[in-house]
């Protein structure tokens, strides 16, 4: 059998050692009613060749970034990934090890996680970061739960309506069963940023935290200073959520604006889009909140001879120690994806991260300007943006098929989440969108 190595002689010998005459002896204690009808009604196994053919056939039905021009962002981004990233995360020593519970034989994973935590701190401008959570959406929900632990007695969560709609849905799902928490949505204003006046009106001493996208779902870079000030007036925590962390190589990071918690989705830093998963959620905060953090933390220590080493630490916050009193239920997380980002950020480094972020911002602005000037599209918002922006397109749904015929998906249609934005399209431009794709995009929009 595939992957099970025993020969008939092996099995016989092992059963003899055990003192059983047949395998069935080993499971006879299971009630007969359960053993009957337990057969699995699925096709028989396939050869590896047949498996690859089947998988290639399924894959071949999909429109991927390999042969389509995708101007899609909205939380998942198509970026260049150096081959060295996959080479490292494909190494069995990283890919086929477990959560590092035995630190003496897991220093590779532990040191890489420690380096990851450091990179996240540097990128976000925060003081501490954990080793990652499931995704950006659950990071946002965990940020709210963390604020609830810190802000004992407060029960209102203020979430910007310009935060990623799926993240808002996940936050709502997480909070639904906690009867003492009230979720309030703050509208956005004409520039596409969170309405600071509306926020000021909604804030009071019952607010535990304010959650905003940075940049937000519309690609708009929020002005965090007034939001921070409004939070301070009422003792609320400020949590930022970044779905495109490459932007933080160019933008003043959340920590510099005084964010208390900075989280986001890490996919854009070296992880393939893969239909939106697996990526990972990054999670950083100010140091004074370290004992309220969810998830795993790696810390530095020494062995008996004074050699530096790394261990999972502060695990009295975690489910395997604290059970029902844990800060989170998270166990298996997204380690290998965090490693991919660690390698990615190390390869690009200080100057490369900056350069790539600039290429994205400049190209996106050039495309936005051409769509406005040459194709006559109207920008939906006036706020500054990084690599994605919203334009209004007349008869958007009618024009869709023209793009598909040219293997272009021009953006994410927003009406589904914002019914009032009927013709709004969220267009994302990265370094992967080549000149000829951009010409076609602009040309197809310009053709009336």
């Amino acid at each position: 059998m595939r992957y099970t190595p025993h020969t008939a002689a092996d099995k016989e010998r092992m059963l003899r050692t055990i003192g059983a005459s047949a395998f069935e002896d080993l499971i006879r204690h299971i009630p007969a009613a359960l053993r009957q009808n337990a057969q699995i009604a699925l096709p028989q196994g396939l050869t590896e060749v047949a498996v690859k053919r089947r998988m290639a056939a399924l894959a071949g039905k999909n429109a991927s970034a390999q042969d389509w021009s995708l101007f899609l962002g909205g939380g998942i981004y198509h970026h260049a990934i150096p081959s060295a990233v996959d080479a490292i995360i494909s190494r069995a020593e990283f890919a086929t090890s477990y959560t590092p519970y035995q630190p003496e034989v897991s220093q590779g994973t532990l040191q890489a996680m420690y380096e990851f935590q450091t990179l996240v701190c540097q990128l976000t401008g925060m003081e501490v970061a954990n080793a990652g959570v499931y995704d950006g959406a659950s990071a946002a929900a965990e940020a709210v739960l963390m604020a609830r632990r810190i802000q004992d007695g407060r029960h209102r969560v203020l979430v910007s309506r310009a935060l990623h709609p799926q993240y808002r849905q996940v936050i709502a799902t997480f909070l639904r069963n906690l009867i003492d928490v009230e979720l309030v949505e703050i509208p956005f204003s004409a520039n596409g940023a969170t309405d600071a006046d509306a926020l000021a009106r909604a804030l009071d001493d019952r607010a535990m935290c304010v959650v905003v996208g940075y940049p937000n779902f519309f690609g708009v870079v929020e002005e965090l200073a007034p939001l921070r000030a409004a939070c301070d007036r009422h003792g609320a925590l400020l949590a930022t959520v970044t779905t495109e962390p490459l932007s933080l190589a160019l933008l003043k990071p959340p920590g510099a604006w005084g964010a208390d918690i900075a989280v986001g989705e890490g996919q854009s830093l070296g992880v393939p889009m893969s239909l939106g998963g697996p990526g990972y959620g990054f999670f950083a905060s100010q140091k004074k909140f370290v004992r309220s953090l969810p998830g795993r933390l790696v810390g530095e220590t020494v062995d008996g001879e004074g050699r530096r080493g790394f261990v999972l630490t502060l695990s009295t916050r975690e489910q395997h120690i604290r059970r029902e009193k844990a800060t989170s239920n998270i166990c298996t997380s997204q380690s290998l994806c965090a490693l991919a980002s660690t390698v990615f950020m190390s390869l690009l480094g200080k100057s490369g991260m900056r350069r790539l972020a600039e290429v994205n911002a400049r190209r996106a602005h050039r495309v936005r300007d051409r769509l406005v000037e040459e194709a006559g599209l109207a920008p939906a918002f006036s706020g500054p943006f990084f690599n994605e922006f919203v334009v209004n397109v007349d008869r958007l749904s009618e024009r869709r098929s023209r793009f598909f015929a040219k293997r272009i998906v021009p953006g994410v249609e927003l009406e589904k989440w914002y019914p009032e934005m009927r013709d709004a399209l969220l267009v994302c431009v990265t370094e992967m969108n080549e000149e000829q794709e951009i010409e076609e995009l602009v040309g197809t929009f310009a053709a009336r």
Partner: protein, 490 residues
């Protein structure tokens, strides 16, 4: 600062921040002209402290780090409850096919029919193996599956007028069970297992009331023992209007042997990174699909993939749904790997996998039962639990035995879990190991037991051959240093 090259490749390594040279980068991209459009007030400088290295330098750093790890492909890794089976290479090939790896989740669904075909088939296959009626693939890992399952239960009961207050959790349960219960707004009531380590229907009956929403049970349980009263237990829960949640972490014992759906289970999660061979990755990514019986189907997370004729569509219009638990479609890349594994093995291969997993665990148990103390006389399924009781009289503990195993080149079993067994050593060999490997492991365990008697100091000071010795965990927690900073420490 020290050069990694001077330290050898199998000892402690410099941090990535401690090497390199200002201005160096492995990244090449032509400069883009034009304005970035970011106002100065919103801009930052280059990121202070970020690495500055060349490509080979970076590769060598991480390759050397990899040498410090034990892994399935280099060592036997019998970590109980984790199912550290071989992670097939063909799974990796499939997940990296560009028309899977380069799919954007917000593309109109009609442009990616192959992906949805795979997802619906995977749902169907998992439902068949577990004996359930419907499956959601959204949860990112086992614990998120648990929370999702409990939310389904809560929504189901709430619709009937009362979400109830408590979840019953056996004392043998994984820590995630009580943690997920709390997160779902429930109080946890612990159910004691009996001397054999299993749950008696009477214990559940005593704890049942109209306040109890559900029982969370693991079967086989964390002692590797089949909960043989599961049907009577489920009846006891159902009689008082509660539901039964099965933690499917140990499904690797059951494929083709018994279906949870026949045991009275209403909802379960399945860890694809355990039973269905996707790599653990040093702590994820995994995937934790949730299966339900028909009466819970309407509460599953949205969007759901609905098959109509030949086409699959995404639908949100399920008013009773608990909502969305993860962005997009879950860990799709992991789902592709699990699907590949399942069609590779087929029904015959999957059934064989479980049978060989049970055979291997029983073989290891037999080889060690005269040397190590076996706390439960019940038959073992896919894993077996011993303790350090026989070794303690020589002052040697489970931790010492685990550390000494490292010197013999084996990853230790799960230790000190389940909590109800003092000094537990929980061994799960999995089906992909040869008899020779199991023998070598049993020989090492036997040799350590002999050392414990004859030269306990060697065991107590182990490990002796690893890149670092036992690390001071108390110091790490007392004075947490969680990141590198220029000039060292913080």
């Amino acid at each position: 600062m020290s050069e990694p090259s001077q330290r050898g490749s199998r000892g402690p390594q410099a941090l990535i921040f401690e090497s390199g040279s200002p201005g160096r980068s492995a990244f090449f991209w032509p400069e883009e002209t034009g304005a970035s459009g970011i106002p100065d007030a919103l801009s930052r400088e280059e990121i202070a402290g970020f690495p500055e290295m060349g490509e080979l330098e970076v590769l060598r750093h991480f390759t050397r780090l990899s040498h410090l790890n034990f892994s399935i492909e280099s060592q036997f890794y019998p970590l109980g409850s984790c199912t550290m089976k071989y992670n097939p290479k063909v799974n990796e090939v499939a997940a990296r096919m560009p028309c899977f790896a380069l799919l954007h989740p917000l593309i109109p669904p009609e442009l990616i029919p192959g992906a949805f075909e795979l997802l619906t088939e995977l749902e169907t296959m998992l439902a068949e193996i577990a004996g359930m009626d419907a499956v959601t693939l959204q949860p990112a890992a086992g614990a998120q599956g648990e929370l999702t399952g409990l939310m389904l239960i809560r929504a189901f009961l709430a619709e009937r007028g009362n979400p109830r207050k408590k979840i019953l959790v056996p004392d043998t349960a994984h820590g995630t069970n009580p943690a997920s219960s709390t997160l779902c707004g429930y109080d946890v009531v612990q159910i004691p297992s009996n001397k054999q380590g299993i749950i008696e229907p009477e214990a559940v009956e005593r704890a049942m009331s109209e306040d109890v929403a559900a029982l969370m049970i693991t079967n086989p349980n964390t002692l590797g023992v089949f909960e043989r009263h599961i049907q009577a237990i489920a009846d006891a829960v159902h009689r008082r209007g509660g539901l039964v949640y099965l933690d499917g972490a140990n499904l690797n014992a059951l494929m083709g042997i018994a279906k949870p759906g026949h045991m009275g289970v209403d909802v379960l999660h399945i860890n694809l990174h355990k039973t269905f061979s996707t790599p653990h990755g040093g702590g994820g990514p995994g995937a934790g699909p949730v299966g339900v019986k028909a009466h819970l189907k309407d509460y599953l997370p949205v969007p759901r993939i609905v098959k109509s004729g030949d086409r699959c569509e995404l639908r949100d219009d399920f008013p009773k749904s608990v909502g969305r638990v993860r962005s997009f479609f879950g860990n799709f890349g992991i789902l592709v790997r699990a699907y590949t594994y399942m069609i590779s093995l087929g029904s015959d291969g999957l059934e064989d996998a479980s049978r060989m997993a049970v055979l291997n665990a029983n073989y290891v148990r037999k080889r060690l039962e005269n040397t190590y103390f076996l706390p439960s006389p019940e038959p073992s399924m896919h894993e077996c639990v011993f303790t350090d009781r026989n070794q303690q009289k020589d002052g040697v503990t489970t931790l010492d035995i685990a550390k000494r195993l490292l010197d013999y080149g084996f990853h230790p079993p799960t230790i000190y879990f389940p909590l109800v067994v003092s000094g537990a050593l929980m061994i799960e060999p999995t089906e992909t190991e040869t008899r020779e490997t199991l023998d070598a492991f049993a020989d090492a365990m036997t040799a350590i037991a002999r050392e414990a008697k004859e030269e306990p100091a060697v065991v107590k000071s182990a490990p002796h051959t690893t890149p670092v010795g036992r690390l001071d965990e108390a110091r790490a927690a007392r004075r947490p240093v969680l990141r590198w900073e220029p000039g060292g420490g913080d």
